[in-house]
Symmetry: C2
Subunit: 612 residues, 2 copies
């Protein structure tokens, strides 16, 4: 297109950006109007995308990190012929795939955005996949808002992208000066962003975001700059083109009051279609060589840390599956993902201590069809909780492993103890939460996670524990294992991970006193094997003890209560969990002090057995 | 001290840094040894601190953001005479206050650290308190590791500190080149850190961290630099002074194998005491003027959004209490904390879209005795979850308000919906979780939060709902309100927030059909009014429906189940919660689609009433 045509296209995008929010009287038109030229020039001149084949691996990727600017995004889709005007006018209606913020319900959307500061980190993940996994020349374009530059996650992304020399990644900052409730910190001082971006190793271009020729030049410069990502810092005007809202405060997230007047001021409706360039060539994603191999197994009675089993299993899985990749937050010698790194260095991603970018990269890689496993200490998975939440909104299948769970870690103290992770991950939509007690169970669950849709979380233990499951035991997501059972059982003990071993010790002590208990290894906390739990509790007179190295809220105990809640089993359940703030002590002391060791379990069983 | 004496002091610090971890064979000596000169010079020459009076408001603040370097921190305390050698040698033992990572169990520790990238943001909070609240000249010194510079939260802190011109804040980066599992990204390229710090508006000084005179000069420069914070970027050697570990990989987090040899190499034990300069003068923290006033109240039947009531109540509370301060993540016109901002601008802190720094600042202010309320969308409180977790470890009393809870928000879609927040906050140690259904309850709970220890979380609703509680209703943390009750009740409905209104509508419908239900407003989810819930469920034949605008895991339903678990009440509880991934729709449509509206509640009650 000529420059004039691009200007017309931008005005059309503005018209549609005004119209769509008028359907429900909600949305963020002014946040899209500032970026109309930026996106018009991109769509016409630089984006390589086959809208009829969103699965084409050669397609570029366009991410709206400022996810609230959906009216503009959908206006682009309409201009590209991907949706028609009727669909545009379903914006934000019940059942429409044109949601208030973009989600992969739409085939052209890779990741869900709308929690600010996440689109760029997701884009870094896709760009990493492009360079190191797919090995395809697609480009990644991310439209950012100026307000979201305050999020630390954005700077994690800047760092990672520069360090990895992602020169096929371009960020476009729409510096429209106005945030939700007022001016941004730096308003139109685009130099601030330039200095920071350059200090983080990016090539930066400052541009008038409404000058289509200048914008074209900036994109050309981005494409031509090797060895580093480029950021285009575009000075723009929020609400541009409609005097009632142009550069006016208090207009964020509000539909335009007088739509007809706005459309008239924008020059009326147009019907410009853009023939977006499809990617050329027929490159295919790189396929990593695989070999034959089997999951590791261990003999019953061997002492192995489940974190070690995780590393060994992941490495073995990587040998037979070329799509499995691993990321770690600079603790691979603790999570033991280093075993994968040594076996498959090309597919290992060192993310340093930047857990948000780590999870975001996993989401980006998943969007490209890879099978990412990300690991750090269970305590530090909490750092990326909003990214995990958005992974679910992104319909991403990612796997997170949190090592060093619970008070069991011992002397390092509470800052290093994951005690809230089960609650946090259980609450994620569509999630899977696993906490194996031994190495054999761990290995089988790692393999199962690779095929699991959604967010899967595996919790591993620091110290070595005895292998209790036979190498050929039936360990599955949604399963459980009854470890002790007799007709005389008076109480069911539901345990997971480290507390399984305490429960077995308690069972032994109790057996010596003639008290028989049924111990269930609830290694699959979500989905829980509810049928087995219900049957066991019913068989033991409704009496159950749950015991977990985790806070009392939202963990295994609550999962067991949920299984019993509407079952008709009249139950009495005692929850043992960590209810104090630990200090430093040995692992055994910690378990005792928290009241979740064998002694505490046995005491709870004895007390409960005395009840009706 | 003369330079030679400072060198000797540094060697003593190293000796103790080696000795303490030898007690349990765990700890991070090498991470402290790199910073011995940096801390020796600070302790002797620049820190103003009265170790006999840690509550002296004029004291400086020293934060080890690299919290694993506790052996060095405790060696400092010993050199300052705050602890003796016997106590030093209790390091990491059960019951010792010298934990593996610092916590405020020690009177000289302001905040818990050990989750990297948090100490500097906490320090920014204290520095903000010093400048804008206490208005005292104390300085804040934060020792950072080089690895943790990868955390985005660090850059949130850099931004905030520069923007607020915190020239009494000094960060010291101990660039020892080696992270946990290998070299850092930039190793000894200290220019990288300098460029970034300068781009973020800081004064930066590069220095040889083992040259006591150079270090002294750097501190002097920091103190003399007005208008901006200073970062001292110190090139150091990990494990410095002991050849077995000096600049050697694989030595992170490991006690020194041969302690005697190490001590000998360091020149043996010394017994140097430092007379740390106490702060001079007798300034007192600023006291904000207060006035008389009362909490706002509303008439029953008025339609008010609880977020609006939050803002109004907080503003009123600020009028009568000068210690109450507010922070917001650039959404004060949505959370309605802007009402506080307009009433008390001096005590309002705009944190922009940087939720981690927002929570960290609240923790820092709480460490100085202020009563912070931080607010953003409930969905985005998840961004700072690790900081909330560490707030509990820090024994901080902070209040967080998450607005726009649940699917009730309507068209904006899932990225903006807080659906995991109750689970996340319930799992925090010592937390309080509140979710009022109306304006009067909101106002009373806001006032109660101000006096509440620990982390308190308040969840507010976007839309306006009718006031249901009388202005003088008894609304307390740990309380509840029975809204409908008769001897004929067959089912108890436990609801909170928006679902209280749906439950009341369901009760009305059911009453028309001759089905009587007991509706409880469980506005205090943690602590839950367990007695009232148990009595009600027992009185309604063990039948209960829980209904919440939140995921099914870890929320109100699980809290109710917990109250019943070990109570002896034989119950059948049906949990209604959000089990799908919402899209965009109106508020009423969302509640219907999620199965948590009046219709769904009534259906659940009818079905349950048919059960035994």
């Amino acid at each position: 297109m000529q420059s004039d045509d691009r200007r017309e296209l931008a005005q059309q995008l503005r018209v549609d950006t005004v119209r769509a929010p008028s359907v429900t009287g909600s949305g963020h038109p002014t946040s899209g109007m500032s970026a109309a030229e930026l996106m018009a020039v991109l769509l016409d001149g630089y984006l390589h995308y086959d809208f009829s084949a969103p699965d084409n691996p050669l397609n570029d990727h366009l991410i709206f990190s400022k996810g609230h600017a959906t009216p503009l995004l959908y206006a682009l889709y309409k201009a590209a012929g991907a949706i028609d005007d009727d669909e545009l006018m379903t914006y934000r209606l019940r059942g429409s795939r044109l949601e208030g913020h973009p989600t992969p319900v739409l085939p052209w959307v890779d990741v869900g955005t709308g929690s600010l500061g996440q689109g760029l980190p997701f884009g870094v993940g896709i760009a990493l996949a492009g360079k190191r996994l797919d090995r395809l020349p697609y480009r990644v374009w991310v439209l950012c808002g100026d307000s979201e530059m305050a999020e630390g996650s954005v700077w994690e992304a800047f760092e990672r992208a520069a360090y990895e020399q992602l020169d096929h990644l371009t960020a476009i900052i729409d510096v429209n000066r106005l945030g939700q409730r007022g001016p941004t910190q730096y308003e139109w001082d685009t130099d601030v962003y330039r200095r920071r971006a350059e200090a983080f190793g990016w090539h930066a271009v400052e541009v008038d975001g409404h000058d289509v020729d200048a914008v074209d030049g900036a994109y050309a410069e981005a494409v031509a700059t090797p060895g580093k990502p480029t950021v285009i810092i575009a000075r723009t005007v929020k609400g541009k083109g409609v005097s009632a809202v142009e550069n006016v405060g208090g207009q964020h997230g509000k539909a335009i009051a007088d739509v007809d007047a706005a459309i008239a001021e924008l020059g009326g409706a147009r019907d410009i279609g853009v023939s977006v360039s499809a990617p050329t060539g027929n490159g295919k994603p790189h396929v990593f060589e695989t070999g034959s191999g089997e999951l590791p197994t261990w003999n019953v009675g061997e002492k192995v840390a489940t974190r070690g089993a995780y590393g060994a299993a992941l490495a073995a899985l990587g040998t037979v599956r070329g799509d499995v990749v691993a990321l770690d937050g600079e603790v691979s010698n603790s999570t033991m993902s280093e075993k994968f790194k040594h076996a498959h260095p090309e597919r290992f991603f060192e993310m340093y201590i930047a857990e948000q970018q780590m999870i975001a990269a996993a989401v980006g890689m998943a969007a490209r069809g890879w099978v990412p496993f990300a690991s750090t200490f269970s305590a530090f998975t909490s750092r990326a909780y909003d990214f995990v939440r958005m992974a679910a909104v992104s319909r991403a299948s990612i796997r997170v492993t949190g090592s060093h769970a619970g008070v069991e870690i011992g002397q390092d103290g509470p800052s290093q103890m994951g005690l809230e992770d089960i609650a946090a991950y259980r609450a994620i939509h569509g999630s899977t939460v696993l906490y194996p007690a031994d190495a054999n169970a761990t290995a089988k669950l790692v393999a199962a996670m690779a095929d699991r849709a959604g967010v899967s979380y595996l919790r591993t233990t620091r110290g070595a524990t005895p292998v209790i499951h036979e190498p050929d035991a039936d360990i599955t997501i949604g399963g459980s294992a009854i470890l002790t059972s007799s007709d005389d059982d008076v109480v069911t003990i539901c345990a997971a991970g480290i507390t399984v071993h305490e429960a077995l010790r308690a069972a032994e002590t109790l057996a010596g006193d003639g008290v028989s208990v049924r111990v269930i290894d609830c290694y699959s906390i979500k989905p829980l094997d509810a049928d087995t739990v219900r049957e066991a509790v019913a068989a033991t007179g409704g009496r159950a003890v749950t015991v977990e190295d985790h806070r009392a809220e939202g963990g295994l105990g609550d999962a067991v209560l949920d299984a019993l809640a509407d079952s008709g089993v009249c139950s009495r359940v005692r929850k043992l969990a960590v209810r104090t703030m630990p200090g430093s002590a040995t692992s055994a002391e910690q378990l005792a002090d928290a009241g979740i060791d064998a002694t505490a379990i046995a005491a709870a069983v004895r007390d409960l057995a005395r009840k009706a």
